[in-house]
Subunit: 327 residues, 2 copies
């Protein structure tokens, strides 16, 4: 079959094809309409830019579509969203882009929406030299008001999973040869999966609610670790105005995660992990860890200046300070 | 003063500066929170891409900020939005971008929000080779349900203003010398303004409501002319499944708009006009034109196949078919 190029299809045909991915009642009008369920709305925008976040060598278009939705979902979940309502998709494409590439991106987008809820409500499409996806996602605010600024001293610092895997996956995919031959196969495949198909836990908020005693407040300190574990903890400490204490000995790693400074750097600063980093009163934390095995304690909050304190770390409790940056 | 470049500022400082443009309670968290007023939500996304929609030679960063908001506002108004609630801004910047450029874009954005309502709720920022702004705007659905598919036979086809000016403004700004010296000065300045600072009429929906008799339905056929006048009429006809009749003799032009095929082409296919193109029952249309001088009749709808019929046009009622395309 001959390759179909966007430019040859024409804009009308492109829009007609894209509209197949939207519910019938939303197509071909100026705006999307969202019937709100009387709850407050959580809104999040995430950009994926070619050669900054992805390229065709390291991320397939289906995985790109998946990931561009899921990075939004992760932010919504970390704010206490109880239902994903939909997304708007802004798509920039070179006119030489193959239709198959676009189709695959939309299939990846819809796979993610299938798993997490919501539909494509609308969007815009334009030509441009650099492929770019800008997704704005909408969800309803559930009963848990999860905010960066709500951590309190004496609370337990928790995470919903492991870190560093996505960064390792990126490294493995960026290099044409898998030079890291000393790494165990399961670590390699788990890392690649973490990079291409991150899966925030969609039932985690229900578990947090289940573990809660009725009398406790609904305000929880929380963020996601999309900019790396260390950055997430630092954001919580600074927004909440207290000290986060991170205990190296409590941190769970992948069974085959190697030891050493480089590997710690990947672990704490890797980024594109989509776990929740949260703060809970002791009893609540204990109950949550009992019913949800993936959640683990990694430290605590205490009164003090807004900062991250490291304990039980190799190298005198020092880390090479390398914050994840998009620039 | 030395030029400040994004890369030297660092991401943290950039985000700190950008957060000045947002209301205090929205900054530094994972999501934006929108308190809905129990009305349905209208959502619109519009992309502005460097070298596709703008470049620094033809559009100042302030005008770019203004225009990227206003193109969204135009879509919201054309769907019957009675209040602009806010926007999310996705911004892609080369790391060599000057801070002043970014600041000016945000000032233009805020000037538009000042005039039309709403605030910056949140967004995302990333590095990338091509400057790109992706704005998603939110508004509440007012009492007028304005949709492309609601035009009915025997209704009057109306527009809220003149066309072609933005295209002429673009041409004048693209050429380093103003070769079109035969054009009147007021046409040139009006055209440049239409291109750089388009101003959809924010009170037009109130006027449409004022002109309405209580017994008439709230469903109106409407779109905006951002893709050109002809495209807008064609969209209405196709979505509503009837024939739009466009009467050349009824079309108002700028006082100094020249005569000729080229000028008709600019007029009907120019694009980036942000007027409403709407369909109203005769009495309602008459009353509206009485109280709102900018509105004029340009044709009507009739039973028949979805199409645009031209009457009283020069050249045997034929137009060179050149649809506005983003590719």
């Amino acid at each position: 079959m001959p390759k179909e190029i966007i430019k040859d299809l024409g804009e009308k045909e492109l829009i007609r094809r894209l509209s197949r991915y939207m519910p019938c009642n939303q197509t071909s009008d100026d705006c999307a309409l969202l019937k709100t369920n009387r709850k407050d709305l959580l809104i999040n925008t995430d950009l994926m830019v070619e050669n900054t976040h992805f390229n065709d060598q390291i991320l397939s278009p289906k995985d790109l579509g998946w990931k561009s939705v899921v990075s939004n979902v992760s932010d919504l979940l970390s704010s206490g969203c109880d239902q994903i309502l939909g997304i708007n998709v802004g798509l920039v494409l070179p006119s030489t882009t193959e239709w198959k590439w676009v189709k695959d991106v939309y299939e990846g987008i819809n796979e993610a929406l299938c798993d997490y809820g919501g539909t494509i409500l609308g969007g815009d499409c334009s030509s441009g030299k650099i492929k770019t996806i800008c997704i704005t996602a909408f969800g309803s605010q559930g009963q848990l008001k999860m905010r960066r600024y709500s951590c309190k001293p004496n609370e337990v610092l928790l995470t919903t999973g492991l870190h560093g895997l996505s960064k390792l996956g990126f490294i493995l995919k960026s290099q044409s040869l898998e030079t890291k031959t000393f790494l165990k196969q399961s670590l390699k495949s788990d890392s690649k999966k973490a990079f291409s198909r991150p899966r925030p836990n969609p039932t985690i908020l229900n578990q947090i609610i289940k573990a809660k005693r009725d009398s406790i407040s609904n305000k929880i300190g929380c963020t996601d670790s999309s900019d790396g574990l260390y950055q997430a903890i630092s954001d919580l400490a600074y927004s909440s105005g207290c000290t986060a204490v991170l205990d190296y000995l409590k941190i769970r790693k992948h069974k085959y995660w190697p030891v050493g400074d480089l590997w710690d750097k990947y672990y704490f600063f890797g980024g594109e992990d989509y776990e929740l980093i949260l703060s809970l009163p002791k009893e609540w934390a204990k109950e949550l860890m009992k019913i949800e095995q993936s959640v683990s304690e990694i430290g605590f909050f205490k009164k003090g200046k807004a900062s991250v304190e490291l304990i039980n770390f190799p190298n005198d409790n020092k880390l090479p300070l390398e914050i994840f940056s998009h620039f």
